[in-house]
Structure formats: C-alpha cells, structure tokens
C-alpha cells in the first residue's frame, strides 16, 4: 500500500472516531447520570427549582435523545458549550489554558529526552552492566511510583529542604507576542487553537518579544514539573531504545558495516538511526500522555493549565466544563496519535499498512 493510500485510510478512520467520541460524550452527559439535570446544575446541592427548569430547557433535557445528541454535537463542534460558573465559553477557557499545558508537556519532553536517550544508548552498549540495571530500575520505578507521590517527594526535596525552586503560577510576557495573528480560531475552532498558538505559549511568546527575564523565570518554575514528568517515563523510553538498539546492533547490516571496517562510532550511528524509529513513536505517544497526565501535575504544582481547569470543574461539579474538557482532551489526544502514526509511516518506509 502506498503512503497516500495509508494516509487516506488513516484519516478516514479519524472522522468516525471523532463522531464516536462525541457519542460517548453524549452518553456520559445525558444517558448515564440517574438525574442528568441535577448533575448539570451542580450535583446534590440544594438548587433553585427555577434554575433546574431553565437548564432542563436550555440543554434540551425535555427533548428526545436524537435531538439531545445533535444539540450536543453542534455545541461541541462549534464550541458553544457555556460554563455556568464563569459564564464563559468552555472552549475559550480551555483555549486560554491549552498553551500552558503544552509548555509543561514540552518541559517534560525536554527532560524525557535528556534522561532517556543517553541512558538507553548506554544500556544497549554496556549490556548487563550496572548502567543496564540502573535503566531497568528506573523503568520499574517510573511505572510503580504513583505520579502524585513523586511530585510531593520532589517538592519536599527541592522546595522545602533545598529551597532551589519556585512553585505555582506561570510567568507571562508583559504584552501579547505572536508570530502570526490570524482569524483561524474563529473559523475552525479545534485546528485553529492547535495551529496558531505557538506565540501564546508563554515562554515562546516571551522569546519572540525578547523578554529573556520571563524565560529565565519560566525555567526556574518549570524545571521541577518537567523533571518529574521526565523521571516517570524516562526509564520506560530508555528500555525501549535499549531493546531496539540491541536488535539493530545484532542485525546483518551492522555486521556488514563492521566487516567493511567502519569505525565503532560510524557503526553505532548507522544502528542508532534505525533504532530510533520505534522510539520516535513512543516519544510522540508520551507527549500525548503528558498533555493528558497534566491534570495531576498541574494540580500538585499549581500550574493554571487545562488539567487544572478540569480539576476545578470536578471539585465544583461544573458539569458542562467537565464535558467540554473531556471532549477537548480526546480531540487533542487523537490528533497527536494521528500525527505520530503519520510520522511513523513517513520515516519508516517499511511500514505501510
């Protein structure tokens, strides 16, 4: 199958997935709760019956299920879902916070690369040595440690005891700096928010404005959450790189390269290029995982991102915000996975399915 057909098929399955995502969201919002109106107005607290009546009408609880579904569908797709606590559109609140979550995920990614790539290579080249065991241990540690406990341990160590980091809040540049100001967000909400927001990520915005003190501040606050995210999945990625590099080193083209008398480093370079292919996929999926896992990291480290918004929505039983947040998280996650899949097919000519 050619690359074009692969892409066409992959994107064709993307659309039913999104429709399915909306249907599942509908089930969560309308069908599963025993008393959905109650849930939408804020759970079990005593509520004004007039408000219940209004919500029942406004969110079409008195309509048949297909009308409810199309209502939710249009609301989600056009981003009209309104958050009753703040009185703002959910997608606007989430859109404002999304760049901060991306910044956190980028810091996590940076530390993940710093930790996993050298360790993975070292573990493969020095198989069955202390380095190899250390990598194995780190992988076990990362998959066994409850993330929130690790975050508190790091805060205890670096904030309370050593006092070498800052917590909570995100430094923002003093004026909005964007590379390109576009109207895209209003036309295609999801794609627009994803696409034209690079300048809205506070650190990049500050870089574009040349406010280097803000960049410095950002590093002082974000290195600890980034390190925490990197530690949690660093061992896992390093293990995958180790295994794939070992496979590559045992293959025939490496034998051939050695037989031709290439230097050690040249041989490793050849092997590493091929070994990186599965690692790139895993890294991409990890990035999606960081965006989704931000809900815990942002809660603990006090970062006002998308996850924090969902957390606040949960604690206030702000149901439209939970629904909108769930939907947007799914969209982001699916899109990241789609990009990873496409990248994988592009960089590895052997994969065409």
């Amino acid at each position: 199958m050619g690359l074009g057909r692969f892409l066409a098929r992959r994107i064709a399955t993307f659309i039913p997935t999104i429709i399915g995502v909306i249907f599942l969201t509908y089930l969560i919002a309308y069908a599963i709760p025993a008393n959905p109106v109650r849930a939408w107005v804020g759970g079990e607290k005593m509520v004004d019956p007039k408000l219940i009546e209004r919500i029942r009408h406004e969110y079409k609880f008195d309509a048949p299920w297909y009308e409810q579904f199309t209502f939710l569908f249009t609301q989600l797709i056009s981003g009209q879902l309104r958050d009753p606590v703040r009185g703002k559109l959910v997608i606007v609140s989430l859109g404002e916070r999304f760049p901060i979550t991306v910044e956190l995920a980028l810091f996590g990614m940076m530390f993940l690369l710093i930790i996993s790539i050298p360790l993975g290579i070292a573990a493969a080249l020095k198989k069955d040595t202390p380095i190899d065991f250390a990598v194995r241990f780190l992988a076990l540690f990362g998959s066994s440690m409850p993330s929130f406990v690790l975050y508190y341990l790091l805060i205890l160590a670096f904030f309370t005891v050593l006092g070498i980091t800052y917590l909570a809040g995100i430094p923002e540049p003093s004026r909005p700096c964007r590379l390109f100001v576009s109207n895209l967000p209003n036309v295609v909400p999801v794609v627009g928010y994803l696409g034209s927001y690079i300048g809205k990520i506070p650190m990049f915005g500050a870089m574009m404005c040349g406010e280097w003190s803000v960049v410095h501040e950002t590093f002082k606050r974000m290195w600890l959450p980034g390190l925490a995210l990197g530690l949690l999945s660093g061992g896992f990625v390093a293990r995958i790189l180790r295994n794939s590099l070992l496979d590559a080193l045992g293959s025939e083209y490496v034998l051939f390269a050695r037989a031709r008398g290439l230097s050690k480093f040249r041989v490793w370079k050849h092997a590493l290029k091929n070994a990186m292919i599965p690692v790139v996929t895993v890294l991409g999926l990890q990035f999606g995982g960081f965006l989704a896992g931000a809900i815990i990291a942002e809660t603990v480290f006090g970062i006002p991102g998308m996850g924090r918004y969902v957390y606040d929505a949960i604690s206030r039983l702000n149901f439209p915000a939970i629904i909108g947040g769930t939907f947007l998280f799914a969209i982001v996650y699916v899109t990241v996975n789609l990009i990873v899949d496409i990248l994988y097919a592009v960089i590895d000519p052997r994969v065409r399915y």
Binding site: G20, I32, S144, Y152, L156, A292, F319, T326, F329, V334
Partner: protein, 379 residues
C-alpha cells in the same frame, strides 16, 4: 538455597495437582507428562529470578494484608480519637531506629488531622486497593478477551464495528475517560445500593466499610466501573491481533472440519493459544489499576471522608504538606510498594512464560548438572 526451597515447593504443588487429576481422570498425568515437565521448568525458571521472588513476596504480603488488614488494624477508620483527646492531632511518626514507639507511646506512622492512626488507615486502604484492582481486572479483562475473540474470529462487519468502538474508547486518555465516567456513575449506583440490600451488604463487607458509608461506596463502585470501561479496549485489541494469526493455523482448520461448534473452537482451541501474553499483562495491570484508582481518588472523584482509600489519604494530606509530610508519604509509599510488587512479578513472569528464554535456561541447566524436569513416575 532459597531458590531451591521455592522450586521444591512448586514441585510438590504440581505433583499434588497431577495426583488429584489422576484421581478424577485416570491416566491424566501420563497423557500430560510433557505439560507437567513444562510446568516444572517454569517453576525452576521462576525460582531462579531474584526480581520474581521479591515481587512474589511483596505481592503475597500485600494480598495477606488486603485480606486481614481491616481486622488487624487497631483502630476503625470511622473513629475520631482527636474529638475525645485533642492531643492526638498530627502526632509525629515514630519509626524504631530513631524512636521507640512502645516506650514513648507514640503511633508508628503518626496520626492525621482527626487523630486517626495512619498505620490502621493504610492497613484498611490496602484492602480497598486490593479489591478495586481485582474487580477491575476480573471484569475488564474477560470483557476485552471475549470481544477481541469475536472480532478476530468472525472478521468482516463484526470486526470493523467492534474495532471502531474500541478506537473510540482508546481515543480518550485513560485518566480523562475514567474521570468522566466516575463523575456520572455514582448517582446510578446509589439507587442500586439503596434498593438492593444484598448488593449493599456484599460490597460493604468486601471493602470492610460500615453502613453509614453507602454514598462513598457508590463512588467507589463508580471508580471501579469507570476503570473497567477504560480497561477492556486494550485487551480487545491485543486478543484480536493474536486471534487473526492463530485462526489461520492448521489445527483450527482441523477442529472446524471435525464439525466442532464455533464456541468450542473459540474457547477450547483458539483461546488457550492467545492467552499467555494476557497473563503477563494482567499482572502489570493489577499494579496500574491500583495506581489509576488512587489517582482518581486523589483528584477527589472516588470516596470521600472518612473512607481510607490510599489516594484519597494522600490528597487529604496535601493540605498539611510539607509540615505534616507523613500523611502524604506513608499511604504513597504503600501504593508504591503495591505497584512495585506487581511490576516485579510481571517482569519475571514475562521471562518465565516465554518459551524461548525457558528453553535456553533448560539447556544451560542440563549442561551444568543432570536435572530432569520430569513428572513423578507412577506405576
């Protein structure tokens, strides 16, 4: 030495099973002698892996504590000593090398904001975590396996529809989908628990909770079912993949041409051949489910006060963090040890259940000394 004892123990168990099977079906052990020797080889491989033994020990301790924990905890979770004696607020932990809990009359792991003993809470929390992880895996995995079997075996439209549904579930990040389900499910479960006495008593005794905690129990069940709904798609995908390759093999063709029913072919011939990666995955997932359930409670979705769910204890302790660090740390360490145990066990089971590593081990052993993995000779 230790390894030898463990190996001998497993051998005794395997021989007993063989003898029992012989009683039920005469001649069973002769017909299955190769299987028995394979089991013994597995036992040998397991007994030689240090991480497997450590994991096994951790898991057994956790399971034992999970069973007896609520009964050996010296304080009930719903007693609040600080309301009687205010001196019991936030007592510091008193861990033996640095401090003697008996002579100073201090609690081993400290107390929380209500003067409850953290050790008792953790012992009870272990039960809750154990039950959650077991139910999630016991419901989610078979569901995934059955759907994966059907999709892989029947193919065509069934396959396409099921895989699209699976895609939808996988499209959500697991934590987010579990959050969404767990926020909406409690209302349903509360209805069931208030009306159905049997279900209520069953789950209350399963979690060792008292009657006042019915709303909390509903949230606990919501967490469990949210995780089940998140859990099955992974298994459905993996099983479908293996079924696709197994069903083309000759023995399936033979079974079908002998006129066996579809169910028999599916469950007697295909299922056993796709199950071995699942066993390893289940072991890892018992740890992951524990952590994910704790993460949900940490975010305030699971049970609330006074239920001592480990994740919820951590989230309560964070109000007093870092001054009163022990409220966060000890439940957290308990969670870490539980997950570590399952992960270590899974890591070694992956090697033990892999026929390739097992074979290489057999050759290595045979080279050293003549050890035969044979079943008992019976005449």
């Amino acid at each position: 030495m230790m390894a030898e004892v463990i190996y001998r123990g497993f051998c005794i168990i395997i021989d007993t099973i063989a003898k029992l099977m012989d009683k039920i079906r005469p001649g069973w052990s002769d017909r299955n002698s190769s299987r028995i020797s394979e089991w013994k080889l597995m036992a040998y491989a397991y007994s030689r892996s240090a991480i497997g033994i450590v994991g096994g020990v951790l898991v057994s301790i956790f399971v034992i504590i999970g069973i007896i924990g609520p009964y050996i905890a010296f304080e009930r979770y719903n007693e609040f000593p600080a309301s009687v004696n205010p001196d019991l607020y936030f007592l510091r932990p008193c861990i033996p090398p640095w401090c003697d809990p008996w002579s100073e009359n201090l609690p081993l792991l400290g107390t929380d904001n209500w003067g409850r003993d953290i050790l008792s809470l953790v012992l009870h929390g272990a039960r809750i975590s154990l039950v959650i992880s077991l139910i999630v895996v016991a419901l989610g995995v078979p569901l995934g396996i059955i759907l994966g079997l059907l999709a892989g075996y029947f193919g065509g439209a069934v396959d396409e529809v099921m895989m699209r549904i699976t895609d939808v579930f996988i499209a959500f990040p697991a934590l987010i989908l579990a959050i969404a389900f767990a926020t909406v499910l409690p209302s349903r479960f509360r209805e069931v628990l208030y009306t159905n006495v049997f279900t209520r008593e069953f789950f209350l005794s399963l979690f060792a909770l008292s009657k006042e905690e019915i709303p909390q129990l509903a949230s606990l069940l919501a967490v469990i079912f949210a995780l089940v709904l998140v859990w099955w798609p992974g298994y459905a995908r993996i099983i479908r993949g293996s079924v696709l390759s197994v069903k083309e093999q000759a023995f399936v063709e033979a079974a079908r041409s002998l006129g066996l029913s579809t169910w028999r072919v599916l469950f007697r011939h295909i299922l056993p051949n796709v199950l071995s990666p699942v066993i390893v995955m289940v072991t890892f997932d018992l740890g992951t489910a524990t952590l994910l359930a704790a993460a949900l409670s940490f975010l305030g979705i699971g049970p609330q006060d006074p239920v001592p769910e480990l994740g919820f204890l951590v989230s309560k302790g964070r109000e007093y963090f870092p001054d009163k660090w022990w409220i966060v740390m000890f439940p957290g360490i308990a969670l870490f040890i539980i997950a570590l145990g399952w992960n270590l066990l899974g890591d070694s089971l992956r090697d033990v259940l892999d026929p390739k590593t097992r074979r290489s081990l057999e050759f290595k052993v045979k080279g050293k000394k003549q050890r035969k993995f044979k079943s008992v000779k019976r005449k």
